[in-house]
């Protein structure tokens, strides 16, 4: 219902397209969390490969590194890694199912279930790591 030759402008505030936090619902936060954890895990993949490469330099280098990684700061990082992994995994399973048209009407329940599982796995892992 507009005349041609409109001024191209975007009614958004100065926030990138998919990051506007106002008035968003649970689904969007799950999507954002899934994306952040995913990118984090890709970064970790290459970090992990770099660390494993020290195995090529023989036992002294590797065992020295292992000792370093027993320090609490690295253990804390490991817990964080587990949380990211668990969330991306279980939320990913939900997305895989619902995204293929399965259990579409139970998506809310699946999201809650994923959250619970992430909590459980993190608990078990944290106890195992810290213990």
């Amino acid at each position: 219902m507009m005349r041609a030759g409109l001024r191209r402008g975007d009614g958004r505030r100065l926030v990138p397209r998919w990051l506007d936090p106002h008035g968003r619902h649970l689904g969007t936060w799950a999507f954002v969390a899934n994306r952040l954890t995913g990118l984090g895990l890709v970064v970790y993949l290459y970090l992990h490969l770099v660390i494993l490469s020290t195995l090529l330099r023989g036992p002294e280098a590797w065992d020295g590194l292992v000792e370093l990684f027993r320090r609490p700061v690295f253990l804390a990082f490991d817990v964080l890694l587990i949380v990211g992994l668990a969330f991306h995994g279980f939320n990913g399973l939900r997305v895989a199912l619902v995204g293929s048209g399965l259990l579409v009407d139970r998506r809310k329940g699946l999201l809650v279930a994923a959250g619970i599982l992430v909590g459980l796995v993190t608990l078990v892992a944290a106890v195992r790591i810290v213990g």
């Binding site: 994306r35 990118l39 993949l45 490969l49 195995l55 995994g89």
Partner: protein
């Protein structure tokens, strides 16, 4: 065929020449589900059962020599690389990557994935047979 009128859609239909888009989703789901299994196996076998969570050099080499472990680690490497790189591509799409730049980046990502897998397999091979 329902023809599209807007230029943006014609750019979208150029995807036609690529593997059918359904394949991209199926690959992501299959790799994702495999990862759930393989990563669980990896985490339990490599870290959970080991006291202190990290193996010494000798333990790592001995463990990798087991052909089942070698196969699981290799398959895990392939799945995580494909799933991760495909995810990065989806994120870049949402950040507005389009046209020629998108095809170039897609090409680069594919090469990165192949390189990552080859390096990982080489690392596994070196450990298993030259450790």
């Amino acid at each position: 065929m329902a023809t599209r009128t807007e230029e943006d859609f014609t750019e979208a239909t150029r995807w036609r020449r690529r593997p059918r888009p359904t394949f991209a989703w199926v690959a992501q789901v299959v790799s994702g589900v495999l990862l759930l299994v393989l990563l669980t196996a990896h985490m339990v076998a490599q870290h959970f059962v080991v006291d202190g969570g990290l193996r010494t050099y000798a333990d790592v080499v001995a463990w990798i020599r087991n052909p089942v472990v070698f196969a699981v680690e290799a398959l895990l490497l392939v799945c995580v690389t494909w799933h991760g790189i495909a995810g990065v591509h989806a994120v870049l799409l949402d950040l507005g990557l389009r046209g020629r730049a998108e095809r170039i980046v897609a090409r680069v990502l594919l090469d990165l994935a192949v390189a990552t897998i080859l390096y990982g397999l080489w690392l596994l091979y070196m450990l298993a047979f030259r450790g």
